[in-house]
Amino acid sequence: MHVRDLAGEAFAGMLACPVRTALTTLGTVLGITTLVVTLGVAATAGNQIVGRFDELTATSVTVDVPEHDPPLVAWDAVEQVTRLRGVTSAVALAESEAAANVAVRANRLVDPTRAAGRTLTVLAATSGLPETVRGRMVQGRFFDQGHVDRGERVVVLGEQAARMLGVTRIDRAPAVFIGEQPYTVIGVLGEPRRERALAAAVMVPSSLGPRFGLRHVTRVLVATGLGAAELIARQAPAALSPGNEHLLLVGSPATPARARDAVAGDVEALFLVLGLVSLVVGAVGIANVTLVTVMERTAEIGLRRALGAARRHIAAQFLLESTLVGLTGGVIGAALGVVAIVAVSAVQRWTPVLDVRLALAAPGAGAAVGLLAGLYPALRAARMEPVDALR
């Protein structure tokens, strides 16, 4: 028997009763759709979660510098870190308990009614701060190496600090008084997403630090490219303080894999079980209908035997028919699943993650379900005696 004849007979058998075939595929469609959607949405959602971690945590490395004599990290050591491959920016900070509560007053000229003094945090920083904390200069600019070198008396206010001090515009170079000394406000930093506390802080160039007891670097923040954080976390201490790297404390980024596992787990498992159950139901459905078909087509089986069909030809035909039904269900299910993933992603504003292997395996799984379901009916059909079948 020619393969094409076998395929032709199986197709004809499948299409002889299209409505029934369509209904038969339903269980498989349901099962495959559920599986594809579950796996696809899990991958998509997992990817989003990883993405979020990438931005907030997985690209951030923090190095705490303990007090030490001589100081462990020099102010210009941050340059060495910036040179490492994978580092996008870095900033050295000096903070202290004493400098966390400093009386700051606004220049009376800004707004006489809100001139009351405030207690704010003062910290010293190098120039790379806005990029490193993923902030944005809402007004003016951050101080640069020039300000540091010249020892200029300039400050940058956090957005919240600026509001508290009543500094609304900086185009006329307003001043704030820290202690008795005036300092020119050259910029306002907004949305420091990585270090939210900076919104309420007063930032001064490292050259002014000693005036507030901020002589030495206490912390170095590093921003890295995607996936580089773990590597940088290992390399940064040596770059900052050659020979003393073991004394530095590195805050290790959360591993993306762990974050993903934690979220994916339970829901995914539930839906996978649901999908598998639907597949089993689908298989039972196909087996059931194929068995009924075999019984209904007893005379046809007898006729085929009379025309010279061997038992294996009969078995092959019914097996192929049920496999095709399963395959059809798999193809439809895969298509529906992909559409659903894209729809869910669109609603959630996610980037859909479509695994090609999943899209290809789904029809295969459908076909396998059909094949398994067809085994028993095909065997029954092949076992029929032609004499009985034709009676």
Binding site: M1, A12, L15, A16, L307, G308, L390
Partner: protein
């Protein structure tokens, strides 16, 4: 004299029921090439059982059956199936046409399990349909045909494999007299073309057209 198409010697067929049924008892029969034999007998006498044995659909319990000189009782299942597909054409009372396929496709089904190439199959099917006078109905679905036309389509299917033997079990059982006449005319033609035909019937009209009649009563065969 040439070799007979059918040579039965001492064929018996017992069914193990309670009580056991002896459907065929010591049946011997020779049918030569281009013979036209009618098998008659009362209901339950063993006619269909004989036809099933002749068609290699059933194995006799005893005796020897040579088809075209080949001893069939010792053959395995596969060899019997191949022999059946190649040498024997069947015509059934119930036609057994597939509803969802055109007349031509139904006829072509006869070659699906054979060794002939797919090439030219449609042409051969059309030729077979022309032979039974149904060339103009090739694309019809079977349920649009009259009973006589359906039986002729079934005969065309039986002829497609160019069998040496045509076995017909009550071929006119579902037909009115006019359609019966048409089918019997066709049998005459086929016989004249050299086909060997064995027809089971209980209709006198059918058996009278056959050159030779045998009767079965309680599994025992006798010439009439």
């Amino acid at each position: 004299m040439s070799e007979p198409v059918i040579e039965l010697v001492g064929i018996g067929r017992d069914f193990s029921a309670d009580p056991p049924v002896r459907a065929l008892a010591d049946v011997s029969l020779r049918v030569g090439r281009a013979d036209y034999v009618a098998v008659i007998g009362p209901s339950g006498s063993g006619k269909s059982t004989l036809l099933n044995v002749l068609g290699l659909l059933d194995r006799p319990s005893a005796g020897s059956y040579r088809l075209d000189g080949v001893e069939t009782t010792t053959l395995g299942d596969g060899a019997r199936t191949r022999l059946r597909g190649r040498r024997i054409g069947f015509v059934f009372q119930a036609f057994h046409l597939l509803d969802h396929r055109s007349v031509a496709e139904n006829v072509m089904l006869a070659e699906v399990y054979g060794r002939r190439p797919r090439r030219g199959r449609r042409e051969r099917a059309h030729a077979a349909l022309e032979r039974v006078g149904l060339g103009h109905r090739a694309v019809f679905p079977p349920d649009r045909l009259s009973g006589g036309e359906r039986q002729r389509a079934a005969i065309a299917r039986a002829l497609l494999g160019e069998p040496s033997l045509l076995l017909c079990d009550e071929p006119t059982g579902n037909l009115d007299s006019r359609n019966t006449e048409a089918v019997l005319d066709l049998f005459d033609e086929l016989r004249d073309q050299g086909l060997t035909i064995v027809v089971i019937t209980h209709e006198a009209e059918v058996s009278e057209r056959a050159a030779r009649r045998v009767r079965i009563i309680d599994g025992v065969l006798a010439e009439v």
